[in-house]
Amino acid sequence: MIHIVTAENRHLFRHALMEMHVQRKRVFIDELGWRLNDEMGIEIDSYDAEDVVYLIEADDARAAVTASARLLPTVRPHLLNEVFSCLCEEPPPSGPRVWEATRFCPAPGTPRGPARHELLLRMIGAIMETGLLFGIERITYVASAALAPLAEGAGWSVAPLGAEKRVGREKLRAYVADIDSSGLKRVREALGATAPLTRFTPGALARAA
């Protein structure tokens, strides 16, 4: 189950959010060696904020987190227009109906190969479901050479925003993907999923219960 965490319900997911930041530190800083800031054992940056949407895969709010991703609004500074603008030939798509997907993070110790690929596919399905729910039409993202073909073949319609470039130790390329129900159908078929991948727990309702 992939939980949609927003400003409204994030108080229900403090534990999962903390776990996500700890995992991001272990995966991006300890394992991949990205030059990110870590404070008190967690990776957190200037784009992390209350009103950002997080997708967190876990059985329930206090269970072990198996994967996470972050969806940034593009109406304010985000990675593609600040950090990775060099990857775009033209200014990247932005606006109230465009989100940027960043920090896809499989839990440390997720075995490489099929398990990881399926995790990515589930996360893409979850991004599409969430996008449809929030009226988002396009998603931009940056992928490494290893991840890009998998993301491209997930079932959504994807177009590159520029050529592949070497950034640090990795070859990166920026993409934009369409969010539509036919794409979601294809992703779900690839996964053999018959039910929604995501769940949104309303903040106020859960508080009343």
Binding site: H11, R14, E39, M40, G41, S46, A49
Partner: protein
Amino acid sequence: MQARLNWSFAEMCERAQSVDEVQEIFMREVRRLGFSYAACASHVDPLNPPEGAVMMLDYPRPWVEHFSNEGLAARDPIFFTARIQALPFRWSDKKFRRRLAPDQIAILNAAAEAGLRDGFTIPIHAPNALPASCSLVIGPDDIDPLSPGQAHWYAVYAHETVRRLLLKLAVTRPRLLTKRERQCIELIARGKGDFEIGVILGISQHTVHNTVRRIMRKYGVVSRIQMFARALRDREILIEDVAD
């Protein structure tokens, strides 16, 4: 971090008339962030704080008594680390625990038994203040990852507000030393002898000697090193004035 700063906290602190009021506001706000216990305080014996010490403390009473009775302030690994670094640290962090002595690890374990299991500490370094820090214990419902940034701001702000209130309440003590006496200590700390000091200040070597004797008498100390230490502690001179 784009956590929304709670500006009303600053306003509430500004309006507070007493130390207790600031403490109440501070404790309420950190609880709201999900912390179960908090100590924003100078590094002193919590039950016998010296004048000017900040003591916003909401820790389990048995632990505070144990801490005071055993004189743990002298060995507390949290005080120890907060004094030598500026950035917050989490108690579970390996980097923090690695440099501790066995008896300091034992203090952390005993604190955990008393309910202070997991948390983090914000070092507070304010000019002319006793060494201080703010320790926050993470409650059973965990904290939002954006909360430490917010708490950091609360801690520094509340500490400074209390310190200002204490300064207002304190009886202002006149300075013990004269300008000439302070000049002599500064020059001694810069490695000058009585003859050189005399030349620099345009007085006789003999007068310098007598001035130093007078300071030592005022302080009740027997050596120039002791005299320097006292002057530093009393902030008659600042370390920045004599070491560059």
